[in-house]
Assembly symmetry: C2
Homo-oligomer: 323 residues x 2
């Protein structure tokens, strides 16, 4: 299928994204979409650019469509909210295989269907570089509460949901071996290509009164934990305890059995799209019972700095931006 | 000023865009911004890419920042709404002059201040290509009404606000002569580099009961009028009457005095960012008194097709997308 005009594209989009007027009053096709907001909305925007955020050498078109949306859904999950709808900016280079866009929309629409997301609008443009810009919004779930970063006190417990470090390992293996990495590193490759946004878990957290704050881990714990602490009025530091962190055999294999080396990767991470949060200590058992994948990773402290076994942790995680 | 890290950029953004917490409950710095919506919101998203939508040869950094926001504000104006806040995606190539980004933010923030817009969030990424993605939202003004496209009936009057055709002429002159075009074509060059979103006019329209529908003219009347008609249940065509269209001397000069040739440029246009709307005929005098720049351009008809002096108009306007 060759896409020659804007109308061709719009027809393809209509095919994969039927309008769902319950989420938006007015969808695509006007100057703006119109949203009927019950109370508060939370909204986030992210870029997903070729050779910065993904490579076509090992991302299938379906993976690109899926992940462009998944990383945005993860921001809604980080607020403990219910994702509702999104707009899409497509930067369209001339030379792409004919089946690229149908497969791209296939991957994206599959995830959209999972969460009943409406594609409410967008923009298309020719471009030198393949890229996607996506803006998503959501609403508070049953709890009525949105979880912001920080808000936690010294003594509160830090927890993660997901498997930090796996996506970083997957990226490294894909960069080294291309799609052949899948054979020996299936779970870490999947963590990079096909991250699972923690929407259900985020909503459970927002319903637990003892949960203070939450964020999604996109740049690795080493970068994201300091960002979380910046929003805590009195907890200026943390004492990490990775004793109960369950290490995936792929991480241990890569680290040649060194738990220390594997934990370094968990700490530095990058593109994990799990959740990082804090709760009061007496809520921790309830939380871990409600979300089996939640793992305690330390305790907040009034003392500035992040420590592990009393030694300061290195603070550089993953940065798409730095040269 | 050299911008080496995401933090450098965020500091620069904080300098030019102070947070205005009255428009958003929670601004930049979390997974999402939080918006307290009174009732409905209208939201739009647009790309603004180097060598597709602008050229650095004749756009100053201030112009790029200004226009990236202005074309989005124009979508809110097209709904007759009040723009409130926006998010910004910046695609940042490595080699730009040191003063590019401060000047870019200067141009953008000037327009943001005019409308008291909050920069509520965004994303930054290294990129091969310079580009901006922008998502903006607004609310109904005092009238409580949002103006969608179409909704008009046969016999209703069509009107435009602004000077269609001028931006197209400005683009052609800038492409031919670069910034030297400014000397002989100051108003058309300004129409291309620095379009004025018709926010006040849009809100006046939303308050006039006789106004049926409205849209912003971004791709030229030739493309946008059929889009307007598509949303009219019974008015499938239009009979144009350009008799009262006031032609700018620059347009007439370019057309070597031929009113016919100048009107062809008005019709084809492109990037005009004026407004196109329809009202019942008895409201037209009130409308023109309230908005002196409004010009009657024809009447809607049940007969399909767009005609001028009973001859069909050519239908191809400006398309960023086509090859």
């Amino acid at each position: 299928m060759t896409l020659r005009s804007e109308d061709d594209f719009l027809r393809l989009i209509d095919h994969y994204f039927p309008e769902k007027p319950d989420n938006v009053v007015l969808g695509r096709g006007d100057d703006c979409c119109i949203i009927q907001a019950r109370s508060t909305l939370c909204l986030s925007t992210d870029l997903f650019l070729e050779d910065i955020h993904f490579r076509r050498a090992y991302f299938s078109p379906e993976d690109i469509g899926y992940k462009a949306l998944a990383v945005n859904v993860s921001d809604i999950a980080g607020m403990g909210a219910v994702p509702r709808a999104f707009t899409l900016e497509l930067m369209i280079p001339e030379k792409l295989p004919d089946d690229f866009w149908p497969r791209f929309f296939q991957g994206m629409s599959q995830l959209a269907q999972t969460y009943e997301l409406t594609l409410a609008g967008g923009d298309l443009s020719r471009s030198a570089q393949l890229g996607i810009g996506l803006t998503i919004w959501g609403e508070p779930g049953e709890s009525g509460r949105l979880l912001t970063r920080g808000n936690a006190d010294p003594g509160d417990a830090l927890f993660v949901i997901g498997n930090p470090g796996m996506a970083r390992l997957g990226l490294n293996m894909l960069e080294q071996k291309g799609t052949a990495a899948l054979e020996h590193w299936p779970r870490s490759v999947a963590a990079h290509l096909h991250p699972t946004p923690r929407v259900t878990e985020g909503q459970i957290l927002s319903g637990l009164a003892g949960v203070r704050g939450c964020m999604d881990i996109s740049d690795g714990l080493a970068r994201d934990l300091p960002r979380f602490l910046r929003h805590c009025p009195q907890a200026h530091g943390a004492d990490l305890d990775f004793g109960t962190v369950n290490l995936d055999p792929e991480l241990l294999c890569w680290a040649e059995g060194s738990r220390r080396e594997a934990l370094r990767s968990v700490w530095l991470g990058g593109e994990d799209y799990g959740l990082l949060g804090a709760c009061d200590t007496k809520s921790l058992p309830t939380l871990c019972a409600a979300i089996p994948e939640a793992t305690y990773i330390g305790t907040l402290s009034a003392t500035p700095g992040i420590r592990h076994n009393n030694a300061p942790m290195e603070s550089r995680g993953f940065d798409h931006f730095e040269q």
